[in-house]
Subunit: 341 residues, 2 copies
DNA sequence: GTTTTTTTTGAAATCGATTGCTAGTTTCCA
DNA sequence: TGGAAACTAGCAATCGATTTCAAAAAAAAC
């Protein structure tokens, strides 16, 4: 194991000064061609790589993004991650990823840990606990200290920062409208994410579509819960007391639940029950039989947009840079779980 | 936006020297209690956090781990990631994650990008391309330069470093033996990962189990390919020409393919065909109908073990620290795709 | 051959923190 | 009151790089 080469070492071994070496390697016109090549060759020989820590200290930035994700096992977040990583790599940034596990405490401690020079800015999706408790001061503080934040998917209206969202309301509206178009009259709503901003927006889109079509809103059919288990319990009750012909599920897991439970109850899909669900990963929905019609969120695009917003802000010279919100469109992917027109 | 507090600022504002502030905040006995409290209170007021970059430079380490994963959308790797992140967090380390996308070039450039002081050590799973081309010099170079590497899952025998593996051979052997125990006679092997070290080991375990039970090896039943598409093509041919009663799939996607194609061919599962597959994520296999019997790899444990190996090495004072290999056991999870005894 | 100009190199400051050593002040005892 | 011991606080070096400015050397001009 050879020790890593530093400017100082090279300088000593070549009998020149540190600054000469630095300038030579940076192709400064101050240095003669002769010494430049001599130094460059020696540096290559020694496999010299400038130590970024020294550079970071000098430049007061690290070209590193802090990413806080509630849960990487959720394939939606995994997809967003790929988008972020791709853009970051292209622009020469690294990504430090932390999992909040939906915990407010972990979210705060992560923000704290990283906002000490380790990273230049954050990209994050708010933890469930923070949304539930309406606790957003930690974000404001970080922004006040001068570290920019970009929020995606689960955002907070009260916090002023860049944001990337899906058009949740419109997507839900369109999906519900599609169910209505293919003839569904009794459309249930399945949600295990009543706590989240996105869950609320999607539910509103569903309601609006019903209203627009003069369909009476039956609260028995609207299952808004905070957990998969609670949703399951409510669903059993729903199936005991009602016959339905459509389900709109607000999350991937909710749609899987809807599919399994309705198959168990003897429904034929899509003949007498159509299902549409929001999709995180596309794979899982496609694999099911019947495969699920989904509102597809373009995870990688969301991530890419977030990374671009952040890097743009980091690299802009201006201090007063207005906050932007990027909206990424969803796509209704028709598969086997819905009737065709 | 207030500028971040530095030692220098605080020193100036309190009319003391930088070193006094530093010592006071570090509770040095050199400083009187009086000044200590005065400085500490002011620092708290100003929300002072020591800038880690300065520290890193001084300490010549960053308490950051570089993680290189072939593909984060593969839920096995996502699970490993959670294990790494958890241990890292506990021990005060950050994780910079990069995706190699199975590309050798990206793998090399990532190693290069990060091994300049950004990270203290690597955890990685070798890209498919590197394994295919038998190109491992980049790992050796990095290790030679003094940056430790821990490999997990897809490892390279020729490279001396810490490793974390699953007992692939034994797991495959046991799974195949289980199929034999429940009465299977014609067991096909489905592999789309012929290129990978783990794919080879698993295939050997399968062969060994057949041999031990005096079952003639029929190469028509052994589908070793390098891609999902190739596997699918071969599988169609297999089903055209043979009747089988068992499938052992070497990867999660391969088992899903096995399940779908055999259902399509009219097999009743598990009555006349039993399937066992290696599982990355447990969720997807459980969701399928029928649910899949799997060889379950404990992803988080693998990640945790890798992080522990690396951190142990980083924090050991000794220079000659022997390389270790940790083996994590798998578990056969019996579900609906196999007959019961 | 001397002065001016140009070229080439190097010394020193800087980024933000730590730390060994030194200098200055106070206390205490003779 | 003088000197030693004890306590505080600050100077300066260090980590690895960049960069400004000054100095030295070489080339050009007179």
């Amino acid at each position: 194991m050879k020790a890593k080469a530093t400017l100082k070492q090279i300088a000593k071994e070549l009998n020149v000064s540190v600054s000469t070496v630095s300038k030579a390697l940076n192709d400064s016109p101050e240095i003669s061609e002769q010494t430049k090549t001599r130094i460059k060759e020696y540096a290559k020989l020694k496999n010299y790589k400038p130590n970024v820590i020294g550079l970071n200290l000098k430049n007061r930035k690290t070209k590193t993004i802090g990413l806080i994700i509630p849960n990487i096992l959720n394939s939606f977040f995994a997809k967003v991650f790929t988008g972020i990583e791709k853009v970051a790599e292209e622009k020469g940034y690294n990504v430090i990823t932390c999992i909040s596990n939906e915990s407010l405490k972990k979210e705060i401690s992560t923000l704290d840990m990283l906002s000490n020079g380790t990273i230049d800015g954050f990209i994050l999706s708010v933890s469930e606990e923070a949304q539930k408790l309406h606790e957003f001061n930690h974000f404001k503080e970080i922004i006040n200290e001068g570290t920019p934040i970009v929020m995606f998917d689960r955002i907070v209206d009260e916090v002023e920062c860049d944001k990337v969202v899906v058009d949740d309301f419109d997507s839900a509206f369109n999906a519900t409208q599609h169910l209505i178009n293919i003839g569904c009259k009794k459309i249930a709503l399945f949600s295990s994410i009543g706590n989240l901003s996105v869950g609320k927006l999607r539910a509103e889109g569903y309601l609006k579509a019903l209203q627009n079509n003069n369909i009476a809103i039956n609260t028995d059919l609207i299952l808004r819960t905070d957990s998969e288990d609670a949703l399951k319990a409510k669903a059993e009750i729903l199936f005991d007391n009602h016959t339905i012909d459509g389900i709109f599920a607000l999350e991937e897991d909710d749609s899987v639940l809807a599919l399994r439970i309705s198959l168990k109850r003897g429904y034929i899909i899509p003949e007498n029950l159509s299902i549409i669900g929001f999709a995180d990963g596309i794979l899982a929905s496609r694999r099911l039989s019947p495969s699920l019609t989904t509102v597809s969120q373009h995870g990688p695009e969301i991530g890419a947009a977030a990374a671009e917003l952040l890097i743009e802000r980091l690299e802009s010279k201006e201090n007063e840079y207005p906050y932007k919100t990027t909206v990424i469109k969803t796509e209704l992917r028709l598969r086997e779980s819905t009737k065709t027109l």
